[in-house]
C-alpha cells in the first residue's frame, strides 16, 4: 500500500449531501462527531465545501431536483471521491419505490461504494460501514 492511499484511509473528509431525507439519518450522522463516538479519532471530519471532500455521505431518496444536484456535486468533487449511501432510503428507496417524485435510487446517479441500511442506522452501524469502505480501499490497492 503506497503512502498516498494510506494517508487517504487515515484522513477522510466527509461532505454531507442530503437529497431530501427526513432528517433522521442526518441527525444520526452528526451523532458520529459527538463525544460518545468521536470519529475525529480516525481523522474523519465534516467539511463545508465539496471540493475538500473525500467521501460524499448521501441520505434520503433523490427527487427530480436533488437528483441533478447530487450529480453536479459528484462531478465537482476532487477525485478520488467515494460515496456512502446512508439509510434505507438512500440504499434502496424502500416505500418510496413507486412514489411519483422518486425517479431513481442513489446508485443509478452516482457510483456508491458502501451501503449502510437502517432507518435510521445506528452510529455504530455507520462506523462499521466506514471500516468496510476502508477495507475495500485496502483490498483494491492490493489487486
Amino acid at each position: 500500500m503506497n503512502i498516498k492511499q494510506k494517508a487517504l484511509t487515515k484522513s477522510l473528509f466527509a461532505y454531507h449531501a442530503a437529497t431530501s431525507p427526513c432528517n433522521n439519518c442526518d441527525i444520526e450522522i452528526l451523532d458520529l462527531f459527538t463525544p460518545r463516538h468521536d470519529v475525529e479519532r480516525f481523522g474523519i471530519t465534516l467539511v463545508g465545501s465539496v471540493r475538500h471532500a473525500d467521501v460524499l455521505v448521501v441520505t434520503g431518496v433523490p427527487n427530480y431536483k436533488t437528483k441533478e444536484k447530487l450529480k453536479t456535486l459528484y462531478e465537482q468533487a476532487a477525485k478520488p471521491c467515494f460515496v456512502i449511501a446512508v439509510g434505507n432510503c438512500a440504499c434502496g428507496r424502500i416505500m418510496f419505490r413507486d412514489s411519483y417524485n422518486s425517479p431513481c435510487p442513489v446508485d443509478e446517479i452516482v457510483p456508491v461504494d458502501a451501503y449502510i441500511p437502517g432507518c435510521p442506522p445506528k452510529p455504530e452501524a455507520m462506523i462499521a460501514g466506514i471500516v468496510k469502505l476502508i477495507e475495500k480501499l485496502k483490498k483494491a490497492e492490493k489487486k
Binding site: 494517508a7 484522513s11 475525529e40 479519532r41 481523522g43 465545501s49 475538500h52 476532487a78
Partner: protein, 303 residues
C-alpha cells in the same frame, strides 16, 4: 548556502511547517478534550497534508491564473517570516536593521494571498469571504502595528528583533510593565484574528459560507493553504514571544511560553461565538485600538 539552509530548513520553512502542524494538532486535541472527546492522533495534520497533495486539483471554470499562484505567495512569505524570527531567537545579533518592519509587512501577505485566491476563483461565496477578509485585515492591522510600535518605544526605539530581545534580557520582559501588558492583550486579540480563529473567523465561516475563501480550493492548492496556516500558527506566537516575553529564550522556556500562548488562544477560540464582521471591525477600531493607543502613550511616558 547557510542563508538558504536557514530560510528553507532550520529555523525557516521546514521546521516551522513541522512545528506548526504539531501546534495544529495541539489545537485539535485541546478542542476535543474541552468537548469531552478524545481527538485525533498526533500525526493527523501531516496525514491530511499528504492526502491532499495526492488528490486532484480542480481549476474552476472562469478562474484566473492567480487562483493557483496565490497559495504559493502566502506560503513563501509565511516561511520567510518563520526564518527571520527563528534566526533572531537563536542568534540575537542576526538580522538587519528594520527586520521588525519587514516581519510586520510579511505577516500581512498570507491574508492578501487568501484574498487574491478567493476573488480569482469566481465563486460568489468565496467573494463574500474575500470581502470579509479585507475588512478584517483593515480592522486588526491598526491595533497590531500600534502594539508593536509601543514595544519599539519601550525598547529605546529598537527596530531590530535581536535588539528587542537584548533589551528584554537586560531589563526584563516587556509584559512586566504596564504598557507592555496592555499591548500584549491587544496583540493577543490581533493574533486570534490573524490566525482566523473564532470569534474572528467570519471570512471562513464553515456554517454560513461553507469554507468561505477556501471554498473552491482542492488537492495540492488546499494543502499549501493549510501549510501556510500551520506556519503562521507557529510564526505569530513566536513573534508575540519576541515582542513581549523575550527574557529567557532558551529552548525549554521558549517551548513552554509557546504552548501557553497556544493554549490561551485555543481557549478563547472554544469559549466564544463568532462575531459578525461589522462587530469585529467595531471591536478592533474601538476598544482595542484605544487600548493600543494607551499602551503607546504609557510607553512614551516610560511606564
Amino acid at each position: 548556502m547557510k542563508t538558504i539552509f536557514s530560510y528553507l530548513i532550520f529555523p525557516g520553512f521546514l521546521f516551522a511547517a513541522i512545528a506548526g502542524l504539531l501546534a495544529g494538532w495541539v489545537d485539535r486535541k485541546v478542542t476535543a478534550r474541552l468537548q469531552w472527546r478524545l481527538g485525533p492522533p498526533w500525526h493527523q495534520n501531516f496525514t491530511d497534508i499528504i492526502k491532499l497533495l495526492g488528490k486532484e486539483v480542480i481549476l474552476p471554470q472562469g478562474a484566473r491564473f492567480t487562483f493557483l499562484l496565490a497559495p504559493y505567495l502566502g506560503l513563501l512569505s509565511a516561511g520567510l517570516v518563520a526564518g527571520v524570527l527563528g534566526e533572531a531567537v537563536i542568534f540575537h545579533s542576526a538580522g538587519f536593521a528594520g527586520d521588525l518592519i519587514v516581519v510586520l509587512y510579511l505577516l500581512t501577505i498570507p491574508a492578501i494571498a487568501l484574498i487574491l485566491g478567493a476573488s480569482s476563483s469566481g465563486n460568489p461565496l468565496a467573494s463574500v469571504g474575500a470581502s470579509r477578509e479585507i475588512k478584517l485585515v483593515l480592522a486588526y492591522e491598526l491595533p497590531f502595528v500600534l502594539s508593536a510600535v509601543a514595544m519599539v518605544i519601550k525598547c529605546d526605539g529598537a527596530i531590530q528583533l535581536g535588539r528587542l530581545l537584548n533589551y528584554q534580557n537586560f531589563f526584563g520582559s516587556n509584559i512586566a510593565s504596564l504598557s507592555g501588558f496592555l499591548a500584549f492583550l491587544v496583540s493577543l486579540l490581533c493574533m486570534q484574528a490573524k490566525l482566523c480563529l473564532v470569534p474572528f473567523d467570519a471570512s471562513e465561516a464553515e456554517q454560513e459560507l461553507a469554507g468561505g475563501v477556501l471554498i473552491e480550493y482542492s488537492g495540492a492548492a488546499l494543502a499549501v493553504f493549510k501549510l501556510t496556516k500551520a506556519v503562521l500558527l507557529y510564526a505569530i506566537p513566536v513573534f508575540i514571544i519576541l515582542l513581549f516575553l523575550g527574557k529567557d529564550t532558551g529552548p525549554v522556556f521558549f517551548t513552554l511560553k509557546f504552548i501557553a500562548l497556544l493554549v490561551g488562544i485555543i481557549l478563547i477560540k472554544n469559549t466564544n461565538p463568532r462575531l459578525r464582521i461589522e462587530q469585529s471591525i467595531k471591536f478592533f477600531w474601538g476598544p482595542v485600538a484605544a487600548l493600543a493607543m494607551a499602551a503607546v502613550i504609557l510607553a512614551l511616558l516610560g511606564l
